[in-house]
């Protein structure tokens, strides 16, 4: 049984320290990371059933976020005549990506990419080749592993929800066939590489037994910057959020935008969705710890507190600015908080998370109201204002809040104490710069890449339905059914 070393964030301070003193290391480039790690493993550790259970559950929770969670959150915000189209878009994307994930996505994201390894994996695990009930992957603690199939499932749900998030930007006007085609292209050329760039690294065993430089050399591009991202602020939220903005701009405004009443057809559904998103997000954030211990608990409390703080912050600032505290505001704030705390979940302290939530709630409110209206783009459901803006806030502040002096958890340096999990030195400037580099690469890769993909899809099948169809609603014209026959 081979031990896979496919793993995620955790010790980039190590990388940071390394970059700061890169010249000090004399050793040659490490052997391809995965092999080396495998070779280094003396006796294969077996998964703890408590960890396995936690990851099984977390995976289920992330599905709950997507269907029905996200589907309802978005669905409630559109007009009745487009309700089913949104529900269907979210679910069809999720299904499509799951199949792609098993066929080549997992491999592109989580296998060694050879010469392209900084950017993307290879095809060695295509069709889940070599993944069995007995292969395992490492968590972030040396010697702690989980069954690889659980990891495949867990990460699959991340890949499935991310493109579904984008739906909110061009809801009520995109052609269904265009959406499917775009999704296939987008996960292939944007998401899988992004996941690889951020999450691929040689793992704790390797990092504990090799010089830091070797670990960095075997990692994805953004990981190698030393950027930290606990549960996918860059890969998921900034990535989806910027693609959403580009989409809103490329597709143009909905017919009647700014003139017709486009009020949410059922905020009840939106609330159900927001609730399920919150519930499921614990799988997303605390599950990203890959292990059931005190750090999962830290990610959990942060996911409670940042969310609550952001929800209240949006509510109070809206109350002051607009005269009423609204339920949609409360729910939107909650999502903004969830987005912002995603990269910070296992790094910030509880009080830091409250501060993070307040900042995210207020800024996202401004982004979704004043700024959006000033710029005049029609991002139907504010994917950019919540996910991209919230994601950037979270990514950058994670670099600040991880500081142990602010109650943060610090970042493990696996080269210390034989990989026991000791935190390395912290430098505000270094960490924040690393965070910003990660954010920038994401914005550029995803922004430019998705622009190209939109244009390709537009040429092949056309992005938008006709005005007449848009007016009648996508439910009947694209799907031949209606959401309600009351």
């Amino acid at each position: 049984m081979k031990l896979s070393s496919v793993l995620r964030w955790g010790a980039p301070v190590l990388a940071v320290g390394l970059l700061a003193a890169a010249g000090a290391y004399a050793q040659e480039a490490a052997a391809p990371a995965a092999d080396a790690a495998a070779a280094a493993a003396p006796a294969a550790p077996t998964p703890n059933k408590g960890d396995t259970t936690w990851m099984l559950v977390s995976t289920v929770l992330v599905l709950l976020m997507t269907v029905p969670g996200l589907a309802l959150f978005y669905g409630g915000l559109v007009r009745t005549k487009n309700m089913l189209s949104v529900l269907m878009q979210v679910m069809a994307i999720a299904c499509l990506v799951m199949i792609i994930w098993a066929v080549y996505g997992y491999s592109l994201a989580f296998s060694d990419g050879g010469g392209l390894n900084s950017f993307v994996g290879g095809f060695s695990k295509a069709f889940l080749a070599g993944v069995t009930t007995s292969t395992t992957v490492e968590s972030f603690s040396r010697g702690v592993v989980i069954p690889e199939l659980v990891f495949v499932c867990f990460q699959m749900t991340f890949a499935a929800i991310t493109p579904a998030l984008i739906v909110g930007a061009f809801a009520e006007r995109i052609k269904f066939s265009a959406l499917l085609l775009f999704t296939v292209l987008w996960v292939t050329f944007i998401y899988f590489p992004m996941a690889h760039m951020v999450w691929w690294w040689p793992g704790p065993e390797f990092a504990s037994t090799n010089p830091a430089e070797a670990t960095v050399a075997g990692a994805g591009l953004i990981w190698s910057f030393g950027a930290i991202d606990f549960a996918g602020g860059t890969v998921v939220h900034i990535n989806a959020g910027i693609t959403a903005l580009v989409g809103a701009l490329v597709l143009g405004k909905r017919v009647g935008y700014g003139k017709d009443l486009m009020a949410p057809h059922s905020l009840t559904m939106t609330l159900i969705g927001a609730g399920l998103l919150w519930v499921g997000w614990f799988g997303f954030n605390a599950g990203s710890n890959l292990e059931s211990n005190g750090y999962a608990a830290l990610a959990m409390i942060n996911t409670f507190l940042a969310t609550a703080a952001a929800a209240l912050a949006w509510m109070f600032v809206e109350w002051m600015a607009k005269g009423h505290p609204s339920m949609l505001g409360l729910a939107s704030g909650a999502i903004a908080g969830l987005v912002a705390v995603t990269p910070a979940a296992g790094f910030a302290g509880p009080m830091g998370s409250i501060v993070l939530g307040i900042i995210a709630g207020v800024i996202c409110f401004v982004a979704c109201t004043s700024i959006k209206n000033a710029l005049g783009y029609d991002d139907s459901l504010d994917v950019f204002g919540v996910h991209c803006v919230g994601g950037v806030i979270g990514a950058i502040l994670t670099g600040v809040l991880v500081n142990p002096d602010l109650g943060g958890a610090g970042v493990v340096d696996y080269t210390l104490d034989n990989g026991a999990g000791t935190a390395g030195a912290y430098s505000l400037a270094t960490q924040v710069i690393a965070q910003c580099k990660g954010v920038l690469v994401t914005l550029v890769w995803s922004g430019v890449g998705s622009f190209i993909l939109y244009k390709i899809v537009d040429v092949i099948v056309g992005l938008r339905v006709t005005e007449e169809k848009e007016r009648e609603g996508l439910d009947i014209t694209e799907h031949g059914e209606r959401a309600y026959n009351m």
Binding site: L261, A263, S326, L328, C368, T369, S370
Partner: protein, 112 residues
């Protein structure tokens, strides 16, 4: 025969119906409508989008009555539906040529 159509505030329905029953009118038809008039609406805000909602929920009540009862029917409705606040609604009366009770085929006032 006359048709009395009244636009009233929704929460006044029971009172109006009672008033009508009180004067011997035992049939009517109600429709949910939206009214636009002097009564001001409200503003709804959904994130960055603000909508001035000027159509307010009202009920339309339709009663067919014999011509001679029109006055007291209008009276009854008017007094039951009145709050004195703006938006109380209107009553319109118009003539009908014919009425039929589907079940029996009875016509005109017998049909009401």
């Amino acid at each position: 025969m006359k048709f009395v159509m009244a636009i009233i505030k929704p929460f006044k329905l029971d009172e109006v119906r009672d008033a009508l029953t009180g004067i011997g009118v035992h049939g009517l038809t109600v429709t949910e409508v939206k009214g636009y008039g002097r009564q001001k609406g409200h503003t709804e805000i959904y994130r960055g989008a603000e909508y001035a909602v000027s159509f307010l929920p009202k009920l339309k009540i339709e009663v067919a009555v014999a011509s001679e009862s029109v006055e007291k029917v209008v009276e009854a409705i008017a007094s039951a539906a009145k709050t004195g606040q703006i938006g109380d609604g209107k009553i319109f009366v118009y003539s009908i040529d014919q009425a039929v009770r589907i079940r029996t085929g009875e016509t005109d006032t017998d049909a009401l």
